[in-house]
Symmetry: D2
Subunit: 302 residues, 4 copies
């Protein structure tokens, strides 16, 4: 691995203005009276300066979801004691909840196969400081893109996969992810179905980009199917990976107009731009703790 | 039926500027050398003043499609003899072809069930002179919207349909369409499956608006399914009706962003605007002879 | 005026499901700690069942804005006493605030000139029950659309305006609006500049639809200017009317792709659909109390 | 400069399927009868196999524009004689015309200042074989991105520019472009106004990306102005550079929705994705000879 400084990586610290460290609380629970009052009183009484607060009530499912972000500086409860201090409130309302700190830098493993456009796009964004994350490693079932990974200062590991070797290779990948302390897997057009072991280990922490507006054209060769069907709009979908192929919670989607003038190759070309943008938006939303999953859906607090 | 003048109908003649009468040739055939040369020579040699010409070659299917529109005024071949004069060229290249004249006013039958937003929108556009067509009749399986139809100066016929009566009612509808000399059927959220008799009688002349971006969410209750799946984009699709439900050639589609904040009712509300716009665009494209169908696809010469 | 029942008007009560009556608080003030806590405590302590809550902090301007909607049923403070009960909180934080009840039906005056597409669209939506409002009157500087207004069950008043008569005619319009107890003016392509008297009397209560994506092509003939400039996208903008032409707070915008194939007439035709949709969305957002204006901007709690 | 093979550059030949060499004729002239007939007869009589043909008539300006692309293989006129063979037709109709061959690889000079997102995007697309071009050199008024350029196998030249040195530096740039035989200049957020010498030397061959939907927010700091104005949509515009700042012929535009939740930084972040996509589309259209400029507009034959 080349030293990062020599390849011109701009760290987050360089590009981000001197932003205060914040804590972010993500909450979901059964809808009840007094939820907002309890959380806001907790923050107010401890002198929390709220930067962002948003909530959503799914009336049909009677589910309440909330995101609150506040500055640690000046907050009366010390960072290590926040969880304990909040626990009684969480218990009273039977909340699913988590707390994140903005100075934690998540570690990403980037998966790729043959098509490199999302790989390049994610690495360039990272190098420019767009993502608050580190990307120590690129993993692929093909050896092709090792030079790209190395150029951007990442390690590269090649795990060729056949039907016979799939189970053992995924076990080896799991070991590597553990040893690298990976928080998030992003599948940049990685053309392998992710096995149950990986999915179970990283629930709502594997982001895939699918090259259609799901649920249309799930599965293989969506641009070919779109061309056959004669659609006038194509799309791309970023979603969390679950056990069922292309069925996980949708994070973001986007579309582009096409016409009879567009061949399959044109759809592929136009689709690449959608894929890159949607994929990057989903990764960024995840890293900024903007997403709460409930049932098979996402709430995106943007 | 109220007299149209009393309800303020603006006829096409009032709003359209004094446009010259044109002929439009729509052609599809196997791709061959010399096609464009032959058609353009035919027009040039007869002093045709071309207003619009567009062609498309589907390289994969090796299909050639063309639309040419020229002024009748000054054209050396008289209107009634154009078909005969062009026939030898058509024969040489084995073309599927048709010719239309811009001073012919197609007659539309407008089908509706309970939801009236597309009904209102089509009738208002027609009254404002947006469509080069006449709409003598509104047909419904429910009696609700007779006053609306009458207000806009249309006849209204109620054909209640049950499983038992479907065949005979569609036969009665067919008779009515024949006697009214209907050229085009537009289904403005008409919630009945169109039987084979009607489809066969009006090939590529029945336009339906489906409230999803097909092929996603074909069939009933697409907004409910879209909400369940947690999509971030909803859509609407205008297509020609074929024997298979929601599988006909797509004419136009459009989409709108939605979020977790949108309930099913919000999707329905936002979707209505998509449906109206896409439906009207498709009707307008058809009336201006801009669409050629081949296989299960459309070429839209816009 | 024709009796509304005979023209098939569907009142809001018919189409809206039996929704509970709600109160909505709209707040803006200088950003301070404890704001959310104070408001949510007020509602919680009085057993308010929150239906929708959203807030926004403009960090640069240090402005806090909030919208909270809750059910009146079960709320411990009676409807007539809510304002008094909330006043101390409002005073403490120096809030600009207002309260609205969902069973109040605002009264709209609809202004139109020659082009009727927005007129038709608004009236049809109203008749279908899309708007929680009444539209007792259509006002125009031309007599043309009286039959349309009457058909939809509205009164129609004709105020021809010349440079000489403008002041007195606007005074007469003001009198009419007063006597009709109008809450909201919507300008459906009304091609007269609104005088200062009207603007002062209805601050942030006059909605205009402008046929460009402002600030591009402010003023007259935007489609012609767009065509001249060769843009690839056209737009429409709904905004509140202020003293400066086309400079008021923007409520909503939308755009559509165009190409060299589109003549000015095509831009006008495609633009009409944008205008209708954007205009209706803005009216609907206003009527559902979703908009807060601050400075020259809107916050839209959608 | 590193050897390109070692940095994994994929040449166009690797990724493009074995496509036949084609000739492309771009024509503009006064609209006249017989134009299409004459051009298509020329191709037909010489056994030209047409791959793509499109034309446009600007009725208002009475201008005719055409693009025809055909296979050289099998064409009876040899490549070097096509221009002479076509000249009489061109003369008869007083055409502005040019002919391009698909196996010519244009040479691009890529200009950048401080912000590297378009730089990365263009270089990564090029490396993946998306552009039919070579990019021998990156030119900048700042030294920052030399490592990026070198990593992708490009030379890098630093031309610091002050008010005093501008004239001489642009002269030096011109010399460099000449010696490098540059065909096309692409300004990837190059924050210097291009002087008249360069504009005159490369008419319709300098592509700039401007970070607003022109003509709104021409000039500096468009995202700041957009935020101030409270727009609900932001955009990006790719255009050819002319003597007047941000006034050249528009090639492509795109937009994205924003809301009150978006700070200036959010607009900048969201805008970056628009800029990259629109810029790359414009470059690609230019390289595929899809654009004809007339007056201050483009016709894009896509």
């Amino acid at each position: 691995m080349r030293d990062r400084n020599t390849v011109g990586i701009i760290s987050s610290n360089d590009t981000m203005p001197d932003q205060p460290v914040t804590a972010t609380l993500l909450i979901s629970c059964r809808d009840q009276k007094g939820l907002v009052a309890a959380v806001s009183a907790f923050l107010f009484e401890n002198d929390g300066n709220i930067i962002h607060a948003d909530q959503h009530t799914d009336q049909e499912e009677s589910v309440f979801l909330q995101r609150v972000e506040w500055e640690l500086n000046g907050f009366k409860v010390s960072r290590s004691e926040i969880a304990d201090a909040f626990a009684p409130i969480a218990k009273r309302f039977e909340m699913d909840w988590s707390i994140r700190f903005s100075d934690h830098t998540p570690r990403i493993a980037l998966f790729v196969s043959k098509l490199p456009h999302c790989l390049y796009d994610v690495l360039a964004r990272w190098r420019m400081g767009e993502f608050r994350a580190d990307i120590p490693i690129v993993i692929s079932n093909h050896p092709d893109h090792e030079p790209v990974a190395r150029d951007f200062g990442c390690d590269f590991e090649h795990f060729p996969i056949t039907e016979e070797t799939k189970t053992e290779q995924e076990a080896a990948i799991l070991d590597l992810l553990d040893s690298e302390k990976i928080d998030l897997l992003v599948l940049a057009r990685y053309m392998q179905i992710i096995g149950g072991g990986l999915v179970d280990r990283y629930p709502n922490r594997i982001i895939n980009i699918h090259h259609s507006f799901l649920p249309a054209f799930a599965g293989a060769r969506p641009y070919h199917h779109a061309h056959e069907r004669g659609v006038k709009i194509i799309g791309a979908t970023a979603h969390y990976v679950t056990a069922e192929l292309d069925q996980g919670p949708i994070i973001d989607q986007d579309v582009a107009r096409v016409s009879h003038r567009d061949s399959v190759d044109d759809l592929i070309r136009k689709g690449r731009d959608l894929e890159k943008t949607v994929f990057a938006r989903a990764i960024d939303l995840h890293l900024r703790n903007r997403i709460v999953v409930y049932g098979n859906k996402t709430v995106v607090f943007d």
